[in-house]
Symmetry: C2
Subunit: 468 residues, 2 copies
């Protein structure tokens, strides 16, 4: 498989990645099959009454852990112009966890220390995960399990050189203002390799992102934040799409011979404007105060059966810090669909970015894929006809189309179809006010800061990196 080397020009001490890998893909898949066989993981649904330390708080109906840690299931109330318009259960997890990848150079090639990790909500149990994926409760050992492996590379005096360190949001439809600390640290010394971990080059991870449900959500968000820079010769292949994509990575807004359609200032102003258009506000309420949702012994679900349900599981695992536990999970009804439309403008691929309000986001609006249908919504829910047509008829070419999983530690069987669809010159450059054309470089630049790109946009960006 031909794949361009990904260099890290902007991370000065990071060497160029290219050349060989530590482990062939055949060896990877053998290792993966072996980890799957070795793992012991049983997930059973249980009624709420059998959730052990999890219980409903009598006065609010909120579902929480007796330690006061981890997360709670509470209610969300939305008001528009002062009038209540929507309520739902929502996961409240105020703690900031770490999603971290250790990177190290082997024979001149940058490798990521990736983990074969089981999560109770995964459709396929095992997915490729960051080196460290730990809530504060986990790594402060509230659950009294063993300490988080490799955490010492991210916190404390012995940590590696920090390449990425930014708080990023998660699903605004299901989480209340959640954010995690996305980190990448570069290490130089020996790193002992535990059997659940392996070193993979960025190119190899890119290749694996073309398989369904393998690279997990936490790995995707961290990978998206790496400030990729392509070498000058990248894209000089004569393939139009690859050339336009390479130019999209190099496109700086200012002082460039072929500037992007919009300057960085115009993009920030467009984003500010989108927030001011929101005439709603959301707040936490007691779970028992949500309307249109009912609780049985087994689940909390919307009466129409359209959105999601909260259920309880009992987990037995042989490869986690804790051997057995119980917890609630959020089970969406059906699959989500997130697609970036891409069009060549001034020779560079531009992505059509949506300013998307979501009730659980910290600041109301983040930048999202062109189209995002929540599980249960179908394409007719897309208001704009010119977008609906592309979803139904297709564009010039679909360059990426995979089903990937959302976080299996909080969501049960939550899958999203991710697409990158190229559209042709007949597709309008003028778009409605909640959309904006941006280059890949402009999105990458915003990823130094939190609360710009939402989790689905970051997931897709990680997939786009794999197309270079």
């Amino acid at each position: 498989m031909k794949r361009l080397a990904v260099r890290h020009r902007e991370l000065s001490p990071v060497p160029e990645a290219g050349g060989g890998s530590l482990m062939s893909m055949v060896e990877f898949h053998d290792w993966w099959a072996e980890r799957t066989r070795a793992g012991h993981f049983v997930v059973d649904r249980v009624p709420f009454a059998e959730l052990g330390d999890w219980d409903f708080e009598p006065s609010t109906g909120n579902l929480g852990h007796k330690s006061g840690r981890f997360f709670t299931i509470e209610g969300l109330q939305v008001r528009e112009g002062g009038v209540p318009t929507w309520s739902q259960p929502i996961i409240n997890q105020p703690e900031i966890g770490i999603l971290g990848i250790v990177v190290k150079e082997f024979d001149g090639v940058l490798h990521c220390l990736m983990q074969a990790k089981m999560e109770p909500g995964n459709v396929n149990t095992l997915q490729l995960s960051p080196t460290v994926q730990a809530t504060r409760s986990n790594y402060m050992q509230v659950h009294r399990g063993s300490s988080t492996r490799y955490l010492e590379y991210f916190v404390g005096s012995g940590r590696g050189q920090v390449l990425v360190d930014v708080l990023q949001s998660e699903q605004g439809a299901w989480f209340w203002r959640k954010r995690n600390r996305n980190m990448v640290v570069l290490v130089t010394g020996d790193v002992p390799l535990h059997e659940d971990y392996c070193w993979l080059s960025l190119a190899q991870i890119g290749e694996l992102s073309h398989r369904d449900n393998l690279v997990n959500m936490d790995a995707r968000t961290v990978l998206s934040c790496i400030p990729f820079a392509l070498p000058d010769e990248a894209g000089a292949t004569g393939e139009d799409f690859r050339d336009a994509l390479a130019r999209s990575y190099r496109h700086t807004t200012e002082g460039s011979a072929e500037p992007a359609l919009h300057s960085a200032g115009e993009i920030l102003s467009w984003f500010t404007e989108a927030k001011t258009r929101c005439d709603w506000s959301a707040r936490l309420t007691p779970l028992s105060a949500t309307t249109g949702w009912s609780r049985t012994d087994d689940e909390i679900a919307d009466d129409a059966g359209e959105h999601f349900r909260i259920l309880g599981v009992r987990v037995e695992a042989g490869t986690r810090e804790v051997k057995a536990w119980r917890q609630p999970l959020l089970h969406p009804r059906g699959e989500g669909h997130a697609a970036f439309l891409a069009r060549r403008i001034r020779g560079a691929l531009h992505l059509l970015v949506q300013a998307r309000p979501e009730y659980g986001l910290m600041d109301m609006v983040e930048m999202a894929p062109t189209v995002h249908l929540l599980p249960g919504q179908d394409p007719s829910a897309v208001r704009e006809r010119f977008l609906r047509d592309v979803l139904q008829v297709g564009g010039v070419k679909t360059h990426y189309d995979q089903k990937l999983s959302e976080e299996g530690g909080r969501f049960y069987h939550a899958l999203t179809r991710y697409q990158l669809i190229e559209v042709g010159d007949e597709f309008p450059v003028e778009v409605p006010p909640n959309y904006c054309w941006m280059t890949v470089r402009q999105l990458i630049d915003l990823l130094s800061h939190g609360h710009y790109l939402n989790i689905e946009a970051r997931s897709l960006l990680a997939c786009i990196h794999s197309l270079c």
Copy 2:
């Protein structure tokens, strides 16, 4: 008065400011005295029962307007490690207002259209304000007053060229996650001048910021966001402080001959780390659920009398959109104190920035002045001895020291002493983890984004601009 021209290199269409002004300072003060005489403004305290359309919601005790608009006084509950530790009343204003300054070039000099504006909480009634200072309720005309003057330069098809457009926070001790849209627009056509407005150059506004309680908080936050750039010859005065200050404006982190002490990446990682150290969470609760606060007919106050009280006022005005209204205000007990310590490092002035948690901030922590004492706190509240000593004994020189007002539309007689104190080489460069040395340029670069610099840091930055 000798003052360097302030150029806007990064705002390409903005010409160099320098040379003459439209109005002399003598003419300004004559106009100001005349506006003061012309204004009719009476503010009387009234008991809550006489607040008209404002009332306490029976089930929560929250104080709100019957339209559901403007703002509410609610309760804030803080928990640390799951345990309730602090509660207080807090102002909840989810709407995003506009704070906007129209700028225009006259004879090669950039001028700002400033307003002589009365606010009920001002100690001196009239303060110098942005062109537009309007909540969404104001400009959507919920109060059925006349439309907001000059608003058309900021919204809609006729707006000027947008130079600044960013959401910035306000006081995290008193507001629940408030933010306003800070805007600067450049216009070229004729702008009719209403009698409450005047054109002032940036240098003139800088001069006026050396008077107590004249340039209001909203003007300061907008002015701080202007991406100032100094000309290359600035600072070549032989005066050590001015030279070091000018270098602080030019100091870029990357590729500079004399780099700043910390790179941009290190600063962002330091800031992320500070947020993850917070082990508290805050949420809105019913006002009646706050503990340690009591409500009488006239006020809501903390039982210890240390923090602030909520009171009601009746206002009669001749120069506002609405002629008379009633509203609650927050009255802090005593004066606040905010100081940046500054030290020359590698030839450039560095400011000692504090990562300061505040319960009402959207993302828990923002960058603040080195020291910030809330009204009622005295210097002994500063934990770090090396900072307490400077506050009490003084540094090498105090370059700025004025009392300025906080927002008179929500706060009653809220004053803060703002200082810029230079410290000498004996002051440590190594500082505790919640502090970081940064150049002025590094702070300015962060102001393109919201939720980095808090309101007091932005106020001080606007004052520092006036020292160039």
